[in-house]
């Protein structure tokens, strides 16, 4: 997309987010989620990665995922609009008419392992089936069961039914691309969440007064927020660079960069949200406050697709090729 066009799309998503943002955990209700998902569907973002070549770059998709993470939204942008369409594109299969797929993950929310049971349909608001990528690159479609409880209150997860049929197969390069893309998109949403929450806590620190002055004037608070800012910028640099790499470099290099980004985000997005919560003080510990919605998202997000331990083990080894 041209920059102007991208700014337009981003602004659409931004005003959508302001309109449908969840004000507190009590707002998260199935009826609201469905209405928001329908409105999101009308933005047509699922088309961005459907065609070959895609209408939007990975970098642009990553920025949209950041945007989606920045306000509490109960919609499935990642699963249904960004991830599933890209997977079908990589496999070379058009979406079945009238069907809205999301993606399936292992029960612990990591990339599915060799024996694919049991699975969940991750980020399944508005979805009616889920695509599962097996370690050998085979892509299957699974039906959806009832909702599964999730700690991340903003994310709908449903059990996946065992019945499945093969949709297609990723070639080795496609498989690398898929893993890199998924890691980047998921990491980017968490970056957006951490960035926005830290910004909100900075705003609070400017207003909230104790001892007759704003708490943001205390050096201890300033250093806490400065450190959180460093973490957010580190996450941002890593995920945006990984996204660019997938647009321009070999899939191997892009996957290495994507792993680095997810590892950084797993650790730092959570730390940054902790800092923000500390600055909000007692109010952040209440059910009504949105702080825990962010914490839930980044804390669960840190285990989605690949945990820190998974990633560090791989990253500790030198690559076979440079």
């Amino acid at each position: 997309m041209e920059t102007e066009e991208f700014v337009l799309v981003r602004d659409l998503l931004r005003s959508f987010a302001t309109r449908f943002r969840v004000g507190s955990a009590d707002d998260v209700k199935p009826s609201l989620g469905a209405a928001a998902q329908e409105a999101l569907g009308e933005l047509g973002l699922a088309e961005l990665r459907r065609s070959t070549p895609p209408a939007a770059t990975v970098q642009e998709c990553a920025l949209l995922a950041e945007e989606h993470g920045s306000l509490p939204l109960a919609t499935s942008l990642l699963g249904t609009a960004l991830l599933a369409p890209e997977l079908l594109r990589l496999v070379g299969v058009p979406a079945a008419p009238g069907r809205t797929p999301t993606i399936a993950l292992a029960r612990d929310l990591r990339f599915p392992a060799a024996s694919p049971s049991p699975l969940v349909a991750w980020d399944s608001e508005g979805a009616d089936e889920a695509l599962c990528v097996l370690p050998d690159g085979t892509v299957t479609a699974v039906g959806l069961g009832p909702a599964a409880p999730s700690v991340d209150l903003l994310r709908t997860i449903r059990t996946a039914l065992p019945s499945q049929h093969v949709v297609g197969r990723l070639d080795p390069a496609g498989h690398l691309r898929w893993q890199a893309y998924a890691l980047i998109v998921v990491a980017s949403e968490l970056v957006g969440a951490a960035r926005s929450f830290v910004a909100q806590s900075v705003g609070y620190a400017r207003e909230r007064a104790q001892y007759g002055r704003p708490v943001g004037s205390f050096q201890a608070v300033q250093h806490l927020l400065a450190d959180a800012t460093v973490l957010v910028e580190a996450c941002t640099s890593a995920s945006r660079y990984a996204a660019w790499s997938l647009d321009h470099e070999s899939p191997q290099r892009a996957l290495a960069a994507a792993r680095v980004a997810k590892a950084e985000v797993n650790r730092s997005a959570v730390e940054a949200v902790y800092a923000g919560m500390q600055v909000f003080g007692g109010i952040a510990q209440t059910w009504e406050h949105i702080a825990h919605l962010y914490l839930r998202k980044v804390r669960v997000g840190a285990t989605v697709l690949a945990t820190t331990a998974d990633l560090l083990t791989v990253l500790a080894e030198p690559e076979a090729t440079r």
């Binding site: 920059t3 991208f6 700014v7 981003r10 770059t57 970098q59 642009e60 920025l63 950041e66 900075v202 620190a205 400017r206 002055r213 704003p214 943001g216 004037s217 205390f218 050096q219 608070v221 300033q222 250093h223 927020l225 400065a226 450190d227 800012t229 460093v230 910028e233 580190a234 941002t236 640099s237 890593a238 945006r240 660079y241 990984a242 660019w244 321009h248 470099e249 290495a256 960069a257 680095v260 980004a261 590892a263 950084e264 820190t308 331990a309 990633l311 560090l312 083990t313 791989v314 990253l315 500790a316 080894e317 030198p318 440079r322």
Partner: protein
């Protein structure tokens, strides 16, 4: 910072440069350090060799002795040096930027090509015994007399002054005015009458930094950099660039050590504890994040954003990467602790300075709080 797509350069173009540079490196093996040769002298030989091939100041305009390419080309060269285990790029990027921005055209034409070639080595005389973090409190004074200045005072921590020809000196030119308008910068030749350089021994045994005594040193008007009172913004520009790992050539140095740690993971697969393995993975993450960050900041700079106060973020990320890296390296190579005096241990000690030089980590956090987040002030500073 921008939230629209960034241009990290054309990979094909950068790869061409990499290939060209690799070919050159293959024909010009990097020099061996002689026994007892001081590191700065060795690095200076390396600097001149690199310059002879056109590999210094890639992003400096051609008329000032550079190659007129972009900062992303400079990143690629730094990358390559790290990958092949060579010493890093000469640490002149931040000084060059200060001159590019503040020096007169005449000074730029005269000074920059010599700085890039290594014909004139520069050091940085900002800190004083009484003015470290609080540069505004400096007391070195340059008194104006007709067409020249007379400088009195003392500088401290002036790295490598004993190996340098010129010092980018800050001195007060007005006793009254606000520090932000009363400090002026000079290019001081270190062989000038009245200048005494006394090296100090550092914790790692190196004689990196020096004391500088200035007793009625005469400086010509033509040796002033920028206008009177430009010293503060010039210092801020210099340190902004100094805080980016890219401009100081540190990236390749870290990359080399991370690679060394990662290859031990393969060699010692059976004996390396899991905890240490993930710590090495973490070092790789820190390093790659720093590289991605340096590239992003470079791309932003190329899209027209100045280095600015965000460079404090760069400095803290660089410190994080460096300190964890050397801490981990000592765990991977514990013999370095037993044998005392190993090169790695010296570098480990130096990594502790990362949170002090170029502005301490606390000062970086203050700057982020005030100038990036615009949090309310708690009074001075």
């Amino acid at each position: 910072m921008t939230d629209t797509p960034l241009d990290f350069g054309d990979p094909a173009d950068l790869n061409r440069l990499r290939t060209e540079f690799r070919t050159w490196l293959a024909e010009h093996p990097f020099p061996e350090r002689h026994l007892d040769e001081p590191v700065p002298v060795f690095l200076h030989r390396w600097h001149r060799l690199l310059h002879s091939g056109g590999w210094v100041g890639l992003d400096v305009p051609e008329r000032y002795g550079g190659r007129g390419l972009t900062a992303l080309h400079q990143v690629a060269v730094s990358d390559e040096l790290g990958a092949c285990g060579a010493p890093g790029v000469p640490r002149i990027g931040y000084l060059a930027h200060a001159l590019l921005e503040f020096a007169s055209e005449d000074q730029r034409l005269r000074m920059l090509p010599r700085m890039l070639a290594g014909d004139e080595v520069w050091c940085q005389g900002f800190s004083e015994p009484g003015a470290g973090s609080d540069l505004a409190g400096m007391s070195t004074f340059a008194e104006r007399r007709d067409d020249h200045y007379v400088v009195r005072g003392q500088k401290l921590w002036t790295s490598y002054a004993q190996y340098s020809d010129l010092c980018l000196l800050l001195a007060r030119t007005d006793r009254e005015g606000s520090p932000h308008r009363s400090i002026t910068a000079f290019a001081l030749p270190l062989d000038r009458a009245g200048v005494t350089v006394r090296p100090l021994r550092a914790a790692n045994g190196d004689d990196e930094f020096c004391e500088l005594f200035l007793d009625d040193v005469r400086l010509e008007e033509s040796e002033r950099v920028g206008s009177e009172g430009d010293g503060w913004p010039l210092a801020m520009t210099t340190v902004s660039y100094e805080r980016n790992a890219l401009d100081t050539g540190h990236l390749s140095k870290y990359g080399l050590l991370v690679e060394r740690l990662r290859s031990t993971v393969r060699e010692r697969a059976d004996t390396l504890p899991d905890g240490l393995r993930s710590e090495i993975g973490q070092c790789q993450v820190d390093y790659e994040v720093l590289v991605a960050h340096a590239r992003r900041r470079t791309a932003e700079r190329l899209s027209g954003q100045p280095a600015g106060p965000e460079s404090s973020v760069d400095k803290l990320l660089m410190t994080r990467a460096e300190q964890r890296l050397y801490e981990t390296a000592l765990k991977v190579f514990p013999e370095q602790l037993a044998e005392d005096g190993g090169e790695l241990f010296g570098e480990y000690l130096y990594s502790r300075a990362a949170s002090v030089y170029g502005g301490t980590s606390q000062i970086q956090r203050n700057l982020i709080a005030k100038r990036v987040l615009h949090l309310p002030s708690s009074g001075r500073p």
